[in-house]
Symmetry: C2
Subunit: 167 residues, 2 copies
């Protein structure tokens, strides 16, 4: 029965391909000169803030979307604040927490960088994929992401793992 091995192979190859394509695209996107104004992770924070409905995100919410540890996000936000791009606010209902929001300068910078960034993304994506393929890619990666996100709540992994520490 080779199907188990074939299955494993498929899963790892698909992940490997996803990872490498992300690296390749990221490299290319990072050449954009505008990223000398803000690093790409810093832009990522500005972007996330620009997208959220209320305009304010908790530090740990930012942390979900950016591949950094909590202390690193903490200091990244600190730097952005020092540059006047974001502002902090203490939420009324939980005074442990911090809410982060864009300043006007931050919003303006995000838009400026965003325009160039989006143009580059579009050029790259359409060079390799048709609209239908992009749609499929969007759906598949969405499913994958949701499955992984759902896992955080219910580990469902190795039996008897009562307390798994999270990043």
């Amino acid at each position: 029965m080779t199907s188990a091995a074939a299955h494993r192979r498929l899963a790892t190859e698909a992940w490997e391909s996803l990872l490498r394509s992300q690296v390749a695209v990221m490299r290319e996107l990072h050449k954009e000169p505008i990223f000398k104004k803000v690093g790409s992770r810093e832009y990522d924070v500005l972007f996330n803030l620009s997208r959220c409905p209320t305009g304010w995100l908790r530090l740990n919410e930012l942390n979900d979307n950016v591949l950094l540890t909590q202390p690193s996000i903490s200091r990244l936000v600190e730097r952005l604040e020092a540059r006047g791009l974001v502002q902090r606010r203490t939420p009324d209902d939980d005074r442990r927490g911090v809410l982060i929001g864009l300043t006007e300068a931050g919003a303006a910078l995000q838009k400026e960088v965003g325009r160039a960034h989006v143009r580059n993304i579009m050029n790259l994506m359409e060079e390799g994929l048709s609209d239908a393929e992009m749609q499929t890619l969007l759906e598949l990666t969405g499913k994958l992401r949701e499955a992984v996100a759902g896992r955080a709540a219910a580990p469902a992994d190795e039996a008897a793992t009562p307390a798994t520490s999270a990043t």
Copy 2:
């Protein structure tokens, strides 16, 4: 004509989703305790070396697959060498370069980490996607990666960009 806007939106959403799913999976994979022995980037180097046909890779070839700058890879390899996991060799035909290869200890460690890693990848991937979907994902990300790779040779971007510096 909203189709141009819709097209741009699709491209950016697809990329966004690809990026976030990569972050989510990476986070989850990184919880694997075995990554306390080797960082995930270091494992990535060992992995790439284990895969290549000749067993030796140039430093700049490693750099293509790992999202780090050239000096960082250089020092990452330096650390791996100090730990006895890889070895260096000067190629006969180009004495500027360096060839990197696994030592026996490096190959053994790669296999050990690889086993756990592959198991985790499989669990994650199959939680969200069917085999057919993984196959499609593999193909789409492959196409994307190839398109981006092809671009390095022929920029084909903004007209009149005679000399674009590479990372």
